[in-house]
Structures are given as structure tokens and as C-alpha cells.
Amino acid sequence: MKSWFKFLKSIAVVGGIALAFGACDETLDTGLACPALCPHQQATIQDTTFFAVELDTSVAGFPTLGSEPTLVIASMGDTLETMAIVRYDSLPTTFRYSVAAEDSLIYAVDSVDLKIFFTTGDTLGAPTTLELYDVDLGGAEDSDPSAVRTAFTPDRLLATRTIPADSMRDTVSIPIPATRLLAKILAPSPGNRLRIGIKINASGGGANQLSMLSSNNIGAEPVLRFRPHTDPAVAKYTVEPLSTTPENPFIRAGMRDYLLVATAPPDPPADVIRVGGLPGRRAYIRFDIPSSILDSSNVVRATLLLTQRPNPGAPESTDSLVVQEFQVLAAPAITDLTRALLFVSRFRSQDTVSLAAAESDVVSFEIIELVRTWRGTTAEKTPRAMALASPSEGSSPRLVDFYSIEAPEALRPRLRISYLPQAGGGLP
């Protein structure tokens, strides 16, 4: 009997502990009998639209010169003319036979070509004609890289090759006369270098665009190949791009190869901001939003409404370009917008918009994530700014224009805020 009582007491203690701690867990989620039994009725989402943009502009130059991952060589007449510039500022002057103990000076070269990798190629369309020019101006291009636009003249033509469409796989080699390279190798410094301008010739119905990989793509950079002797037993050299100017090592590294925009679409008018194109443009948009709205926890959606301005004269105006919104991270102390637009960050949850330059519509950019980051901060610490840019920036000639705050009122940027009314007093 006594052991039975102990057992009963144990059961009682177990039950008590179980109840005591099990009771701390609640499951209250409901909804079956709503709204009849639910204490509160659902609030209606409301919205308001107003002019919240205080500054908008677009800045060209993205990616910066020399940092392009791809070099878009285009020949579209008055619309767009671009060339790729590749520098081989350190050409070898010696070589060694496999059985020799010492190096020998190069006095002849053979099998000279330029090998490039490209990302786009029309294997079904028209053939592509590439022309190589000697764009070494003797130093004038060191201070002004765009000066080489004058170097694309017949007397500087190094080589040309027309590649059938079905040969446009991923690389192409363009033979260069050995005498032209040998002359460079044998020339006294600083003339012993080769700077090549690559141009596409679309006359005669050929392809008018090619995107080649730049030296920012390790293993896929454009290389100069040649044999430093006429003897086929001598191994070929592969020379990678290198620039010896300017003095700044970071800028010098970028100048190994870069994109030259010889002819660009006309700059946008004052009432237009532009995204994309070559050189690539980013739009900078700064807001003036009352803190009463920013700091309200009830804002559930913020939509920037931009009216697209049709631009049928833009390159590939009927093809779409993806435009994305970015957060500007640069502090207000950075007043140079070009620099400020270098410090941008993608949203965590990002919406993308595909637009063609020839179209016109009201375009929505969802920026609630950005607006939420401004809560509890001041404009002096966190700029109320965002950027619009294209993920294919610098890799595509396509562009999109939007009306700015200088446009007529009906076309100006607007901000639409969706919000929920403030909760009531919590009483039934």
C-alpha cells in the first residue's frame, strides 16, 4: 500500500510539472469564424501619389574606362561607332632556341595574329569583318585615350579579316603582317610597342556589332601571338595586353584595353534622364520625403513612377534593356555624382523591368525596401537617393530615356505610397 501511495504521488508530481510547463505553450492562431468572432476588422490599404523627387540626373561613364568586362565594338553609322583598343607596350626582343644556352635577338617573326574571345556572335547572320589599326600616336593617347579615334585611317590599317557567320564560335584570330610587328619590335623605345585598334566594318551588309572579352577576364584576354623566328621549331610567343602609361598603377592596369566611343547617341535633353547606352549611363534620383511618411511603420509599398520617353533613334531601339534600381551608399559628403554613383548596392529583393527605347509608358520601380532603410535616419546621414542602372551596363548599346523633374507636370517622376491606417486604440 505504501509503495502504491508513492506511485500515486509520483504521478501527481509528474502531472503537476507537465501542466505547469506545458501550459506555457499557446496556440492561438485563428480565423475560422472571422470576421464574426474576430475582434477587429481588416483595414483597407490606401495610397497617395506625390512629387517626391527633388533631384534627378544621369551620368555617363559606367563602367569606368578600362574596367569594362566586355568591349562592344559597334558600327552603326551616326548612331554609334565604338572600337576596342588593346595595348601591347612590352614586346619581347629576344628568344632562345631550345638547344641554345643564351638568348638571341629577334630579327624575324612569323605566324603573327591577334586572338580575341567574344561573348556574342551571330552564327546564322551576316559575316563579320574586323579591321586592326595601329593606333600608337607616339604618346598623345597617354593623356587623352580618346585621341586614338583619329588613328583609324587606311595608312594605319594593320590587317582585316572577314569571318563567316558559321565560324563565329567563341574566338577568332586575325593574322597580322609579320613585317609590321617586326618593325615595332626592332624600333627604339618608346616605339617598340604595339597598340591595336579593333574596328568592325559593317559596310556591305556585314554584322555591325561584336562584344569581345577584355583583359579583365583572366584567361580570355586578347593576346598577340607570333613565332620569333622563321624556323617552325621555335616556340611561339603569346603576349598579353600591357600598358606602361600612365604612371598611376591602378589606371595603368585598366588601360591595357578599353572601349573607345567614337560616335555616341546625342546627349539627352535637360528634361530627360538616361539609363544604359555606350558609354553607359546611370540615373541618380534624390527624394524629399516627409519624415512623417518615412518614419511611419504603416507604409507597406513605395513605387517610383517614371514616364518613359520614346527614343526610336537609339541603338537597337526595339530590343529590350533590363533596368534595375540600386541603393546609393555614398555619404552626402560625396557631392560628385559620378563618384557617388560608383557606390551603389542592389536590393535584397529586387524587381527588374525590361524596356525598349522606342516604347513609352509609365514605368513602376518598387522601392519599399529602400524607403524602409531610411526610417529613423536623417538625410544628412543617409542620402535619400537611389540609382537606376542596367545589369548589362557597358555590354550593350541599348538605352532607355525617362522624363525628369524638368518635364511637364504630367510626365514628371512621382512617388506612390501605399499605407495602412494607424491601428485603433486596441479596444473592441
Binding site: A23, E26, H40, S349, L427
Partner: protein, 386 residues
């Protein structure tokens, strides 16, 4: 008990807790308006249908009843409730944790007893999860709304009892009604790219007073009578420091009669009435109802083990809940049973009971038709006489 016993006990408790995990739930009939009134009754009284409420020293209703205590006491209660609601042929389950009663009493000489207690007058704990669809700026926007309320109006009572004679106890209680309710509303949108989660939090406070008087008369081997009257003072609702509603704490009038003429048995009956309508000004849209709270119950001495006897209890209770979703009231019927296990020469008592409650309400057909709610409440009370 061997040294291995605590391990087995804890292990068994863990398993029991795991088994006790609740299922899903619903909007309820009982948590309308300002909340659900647990009744301010001890486990002992509840398992007897509340019939001893006005004579029970641990139930903070009758201040005179604490005079029945012969030694200092500390007591607290736990009451998880497991509900099932049925609307339109569908049913959902929920669970709710309550800690409705803490009480301490001190004897002063042979005639005076004082006590301090905290009990839940109205428990406003609920959560609703609903789906919403709206058209905003031409877009169909779908979201899930969660409304959660956690809070209560509590009754803090300081009571004193005086015994002018062995058969009569008189009592006076001073009550402070206080508490808060945290209401959180969150809306999660299906479209997380365009929309951001909305969360709003509202905290309301309650503050008021009341005073109670009571008497208990004892007739040895015959019975006892307890009568209570609580007069409600001003009770206000606050949003921060701003008064947003005002009313009066509900008056309470209750009478318990206990028959002790059968050896080892107590038979009790109770009738009580609370003037809940005095809360009318506390909130703008309350559907308040008043009705009797009637209970009957029995307590018999059960089998003896070692030096202690186990008390077995059962009862029934019928009452009208103060708040409803419409013009008609929600009626509640409860059947209960339980026992008490003493330990350490009755210095510690574990009261346990199970309450089966049924509530019903005729919802409009458009809202699903008649609704019913059934619940199991596992009431556990610990009392310690240090």
C-alpha cells in the same frame, strides 16, 4: 522513493509535456469584448462547480473567507485551456495558458488574517490569422493578417478578516484593478518584392478600484454560509496616459452555502451575479450581458493512503459570459471533477481538476451559422503552508 526517482519523474514530465502540445485553433466565443472571465476561483472551488467560491479562503472573492485559514499559506494556480470551436461544420483547436491566481495569506494571532492576492478578472489573450485580398492601384494584393492580443484586467486585492467569534468571520477587501493589453497586428504580403511587412503595436492600460466586504458563518457539523459584496469603483482605459474609456468595475454579489451534515462530505451551492454592464464605457462597441453564475458541487473524502486522505470533488456550473459577438449572450455550461493530494503532513497540497465547458452562439448564416465551443481546462493549484 529511491535516488533514481527524480530522474524518472522529470523524464515522465518531459514526455507528458510533449504529449500535451496543442493543435491549431480559431477565433473563439469566449474571448469577446474585454475578455474571458476565469472566475477568480481556486482549483478547489472550480472543481466543485464554483459552489464554494464565497467560502473558499484561496478564491479571492470573499475577504472574510481567509479567516478560515489556520496557518500562513502561499498558493498559485495554472490553467491551460484546450478549446475546439465548430462553425459551419468545420472545427479548429486551440490552446491557451493562464495563470489566473496568486495568493498569500498570513495569520495574525487567533482572530486576524490578512492576505494579498492577484487574480485575473478578464483575460484578453487571443490570436486571429486571416487571409485578405484587396485591389490596390489596380493590383490584387493578397496578405495574411495576424492579430494577437496579450493582456488582462487583473484584480489585486488586499484583504483582512476578523473573527469576532469562532462561528463568524468578517472581512474587508480593497481592490486595485490594473493590467494592460498588448495588441499586435502584422500583415505579411504574399508579394514580398513590392510590399513590406506591416506591424503595428498598441498598448492599452487599465486602472481602477473596488472594495469588498463579506461574511462567513460556520455551523459545526451542519454547514457554512458565505456572502460577498464587491462594490466597483471607477475603472478606466488608458492609451499611454490618456483616458480613452471609463466605466466602473463590476459589482459582485455572491452567496455560497455548504452542507456538512454528512461525515466526510461537503455539498455546496452558489449563486453569484456580476454587473458587467458597468464596463460599458470602457470600449465603444461592447455587447455586454449579465446573468447568474450558478454552481453546485461535492467534496468527499476519498481513499486514505499513508497518513493522508485524498479529497475527491465534482461539480457543475452554469453562467452567462459577459461579452458576445452580437446581441444575444454566450451561455456556458461546465462539468468538473478533481482531487487534492496532500504532501508533507498537509504542508503542501496539489489540487488538480478537469473542467469540460460548452459554449454556443447562433451566428448568422452568412458567417457560418451556429457556432459552438467546447473546452477542456486542466486546473492545477499548488498551496504551501510554510
Amino acid at each position: 522513493m529511491t535516488s533514481g526517482m527524480p530522474v524518472r519523474v522529470i523524464l515522465a514530465a518531459v514526455i507528458a509535456v510533449a504529449i500535451a502540445q496543442p493543435a491549431r485553433a480559431q477565433g473563439t466565443l469566449s474571448t469577446q469584448g474585454l475578455g474571458f472571465p476565469p472566475g477568480q476561483l481556486s482549483t478547489h472551488a472550480k472543481t466543485m462547480g464554483g459552489a464554494t467560491g464565497e467560502t473558499d479562503p484561496v478564491s479571492p472573492l470573499n475577504p472574510a473567507a481567509i479567516g478560515l485559514l489556520s496557518a500562513p499559506i502561499l498558493a498559485f494556480h495554472i490553467e491551460p485551456e484546450y478549446r475546439t470551436i465548430q462553425v459551419g461544420g468545420r472545427s479548429v483547436r486551440t490552446s491557451l495558458a493562464r495563470f489566473p491566481l496568486f495568493m498569500g495569506a498570513l495569520t495574525l494571532g487567533g482572530k486576524w488574517v490578512v492576505s494579498l492576492s492577484a487574480s485575473t478578472l478578464l483575460d484578453r489573450t487571443f490570436e486571429t490569422v486571416t487571409r485578405d485580398s484587396q485591389v490596390v492601384s489596380g493590383d490584387s494584393v493578397k496578405s495574411t493578417i495576424t492579430e494577437r492580443s496579450e493582456g488582462a484586467i487583473n484584480d489585486l486585492r488586499l484583504a483582512a478578516s476578523y473573527s469576532p467569534s469562532p462561528w463568524l468571520k468578517l472581512g474587508l477587501g480593497v481592490h486595485g484593478m490594473s493590467g494592460s493589453d498588448i495588441l499586435q497586428t502584422t500583415r505579411e504580403f504574399d508579394d514580398t518584392v513590392r510590399f513590406s511587412r506591416d506591424a503595428q503595436r498598441v498598448v492599452i492600460g487599465f486602472g481602477g478600484t473596488a472594495v469588498s466586504v463579506g461574511a462567513v458563518t460556520m455551523f459545526p457539523r451542519v454547514g457554512a454560509l458565505g456572502v460577498t459584496y464587491r462594490r466597483g469603483g471607477a475603472l478606466r482605459t488608458y492609451d499611454d496616459d490618456v483616458v480613452v474609456g471609463s466605466g466602473r468595475a463590476p459589482d459582485h454579489l455572491g452567496l455560497s452555502a455548504v452542507y456538512l451534515g454528512i461525515r466526510g462530505t461537503a455539498l455546496a451551492v452558489r449563486a453569484a451575479r456580476d454587473n458587467w454592464s458597468q464596463l460599458k464605457g470602457m470600449a465603444p462597441t461592447l455587447n455586454i450581458h449579465e446573468g447568474w453564475d450558478i454552481g453546485v458541487g461535492a467534496d468527499v473524502t476519498g481513499p486514505r493512503f499513508a497518513a493522508s486522505a485524498i479529497g475527491l470533488r465534482a461539480g457543475g456550473r452554469w453562467r452567462t459570459l459577459p461579452f458576445s459577438p452580437g446581441t444575444s449572450p454566450v451561455k456556458e455550461q461546465t462539468w468538473s471533477g478533481g482531487f487534492v493530494v496532500p504532501f508533507a503532513r498537509r504542508a503542501v497540497e496539489l489540487h488538480m481538476g478537469a473542467l469540460r465547458s460548452s459554449r454556443s452562439y447562433d451566428l448568422p448564416v452568412a458567417n457560418g451559422g451556429p457556432a459552438s465551443e467546447k473546452s477542456w481546462t486542466l486546473s492545477t493549484g499548488f498551496s504551501v503552508r510554510p
